[in-house]
Symmetry: C2
Subunit: 222 residues, 2 copies
């Protein structure tokens, strides 16, 4: 059986989980406490990060971008990047926007500060980081709104990896209760559409010990 | 004519320059001072970052990973990712290693602190960051050595985007004189091989106002 080493509130692990589900691929989930630096895990991925996927054929895949590109190529039943080179470039541009920019400006400042840091025993959240994260998120919700007022989904007419990358980052921030949806109706409508996909449901059932999500977290009509 | 908006010491711009050269594609280089947030440039890439490529057909491409994936697909004369899905996954894993991990642990701490920060008027370099960068680089040179003792090039038998990503990050750090090559013979031999490729030569002729590279920077036999 395919195995995905993950952390529940790692947005990059979530991205791979949704891609696997969209493609109808079965997998076992295994939590990897990366901060313990387990030797067998470092042998799979010397970078020591999740997600790592061990595919049915034994292929070991590390780095979320490398994993989803591999899955999109090997299991092409449901293409998630686009149907021509220009569309794929637009999808990948937006994936990078959320994987890098949103992650650095929002997710790191909120989820990492409030949850991961505590698990790793690195002390209390920095109030400066939390202020920055809460400030930055409005700009990203506006950008999602800007895109979805012009397109059906973030990268174009079809649901794509761009939607998955954006929604999985947001889902982690939503879990810690820090997405202020008010005043961002277009982004909220788009997120409701992503949330209602069967591939997204397992994420809404995640629970992290000691951190309860707000009631609207799993609510499809929030 | 194809135009690449870049910054000379941006490793991601350098990665695209080498890819274009490896594929024999002509292009004009245009320096974009991203910190000035020029409106026409933000219209091309709302993320406000280089590199941005405007291809011959007018296609606007942003984000270095999206650009190189596009180029590898549209100009397949010289494939830089690999010849099967597993090989491409290994190449992309290593590209992520250098684009994300090396960049955060080394390039940001040294090149950004010493050069970019000054251009942006953000003050003097942090000595803590510089110490961290100098400490971290040894580990990455060891990893390059580990790989090249087992493979001809970083990702396997063929020169690939992994070599380009690693060498362009290193080239920026080498420009500011912070790569201590002593004791890292395998990494040094590999870098000498990359440096001697015609695609890499233009990078060795770069000059940044107010920052002179050490003499060995452009030396093929350093």
């Amino acid at each position: 059986m395919r195995v995905l080493f993950h952390i529940p509130l790692s947005p990059f692990s979530r991205k791979v989980r949704v891609v696997l589900a969209e493609k109808g691929l079965d997998f076992d989930l295994q939590v990897e406490k990366v901060w313990e630096r387990r030797e067998e895990f470092l042998a799979l991925n010397p970078a020591g990060q999740v997600p790592v996927l061990v595919d049915e054929n034994g292929e070991v895949l590390a780095d979320s971008a490398a994993i989803v590109e591999y899955l999109d190529e090997v299991y092409p039943n449901r293409p998630l990047l686009g149907f021509d080179a220009a569309q794929r470039a637009e999808t990948r541009r937006l994936v990078a926007w959320f994987d890098l920019k949103f992650h650095a400006e929002v997710t790191q400042n909120l989820v990492w500060e409030k949850v991961t840091k505590r698990f790793m025993g690195l002390g209390t959240p920095s109030s400066g980081a939390i202020r920055a994260g809460l400030h930055n998120i409005a700009y990203h919700l506006d950008y999602i709104g800007f895109l979805t007022e012009r397109r059906k989904w973030l990268a174009g007419d079809a649901f794509s990896l761009a939607d998955i990358a954006a929604a999985t980052q947001l889902s982690c921030v939503d879990y810690v209760g820090d997405v202020r949806w008010d005043g961002h109706e277009a982004a909220k409508d788009w997120y409701a559409r992503v949330k209602s996909r069967p591939s997204f449901r397992p994420l809404l059932a995640d629970s992290v010990s000691g951190v309860s999500p707000p009631r609207h977290y799993a609510d499809l009509d929030f």
